[in-house]
């Protein structure tokens, strides 16, 4: 589907893939420029994340960025870094009660509090994803 898309009118497509690596496994003709792997500092999350990184690398995806999510301290960030090949771009996003609150209220985190630490970290990441910065 992504491969057949006509992107003249859309500058960016952000695809929130199915949980797990199924879609990534099946990626063929559809070329993805950037894969953002979201992983928490837990063995299960990192196992899926590491598999996703391996697949993305195999599929010659342009850029791979890992979001180390719900980070509570430096050990969490290190645990996430250690699960990926050296040199992998890893961005830490802190555990943030505002995200929890946004989820509870069913509102966009960026609307609830654009200055919340996790939101700011993701906004900063988005700025590095701009097409012209590739």
């Amino acid at each position: 589907m992504l491969g057949s898309a006509d992107f003249d009118e859309q500058d960016v497509v952000v695809a929130d893939f199915e949980a797990g690596v199924g879609t990534l496994t099946r990626l063929g003709e559809e070329h993805v420029d950037t894969v953002v792997i979201v992983a928490e500092a837990t063995p299960k999350s990192l196992e899926v994340g590491a598999r996703a990184a391996f697949l993305a690398d195999q599929k010659a995806v342009g850029r791979i960025v890992v979001v180390a999510n719900r980070i509570r301290g430096p050990e969490d960030l290190e645990r996430v870094r250690a699960a990926f090949p050296p040199g992998t771009e890893v961005v830490g996003v802190p555990h943030d009660p505002k995200i929890v609150e946004a989820d509870r209220k069913g509102v966009a985190p960026i609307d609830l509090d654009p200055d919340a630490p996790a939101v700011k970290a993701l906004i900063a990441l988005a700025a590095t994803l701009l097409p012209h910065s590739n």
């Binding site: 006509d6 952000v14 695809a15 993805v32 509102v107 988005a126 994803l129 701009l130």
Partner: protein, 103 residues
């Protein structure tokens, strides 16, 4: 630019996708957000609202249940089965719905 957000379920893909989509749109880019999850709720994180998110899910279900003769083309998906969200983000639900109840 095509960007895919992947990870274990519950890791924060949807929140991450939503902030990235809204931020790039605020910066002036035309952004399409695709919800590929079998329990789609990207709309809620984008700020589209739960009613509209549910409407999109229902439309997608109708599509999957064969009310359309053919699978939609990209353009149809975006224009007919999509919704305009805040900052002009265009949201489309692309998954086959596995679970009709919101996750």
């Amino acid at each position: 630019m095509k960007l895919a957000v992947v990870g274990k379920g519950g890791s924060g893909k949807t929140t991450t996708s939503s902030v990235i989509a809204r931020t790039l749109a605020k910066g002036g880019l035309a952004v399409v957000a695709l919800d590929c999850d079998s329990n789609p709720n990207l709309g809620i994180s984008l700020g589209v609202g739960d009613e509209e998110t549910e409407r999109l899910v229902s439309m997608r279900q109708a599509l999957d249940e064969g009310e359309e003769a053919h699978a939609p083309t990209w353009d149809t998906l975006i224009s007919r089965y999509g919704s305009d969200g805040p900052d002009g983000v265009r949201l489309a639900v692309v998954s086959r719905i596995d679970n009709p109840e919101p996750g």
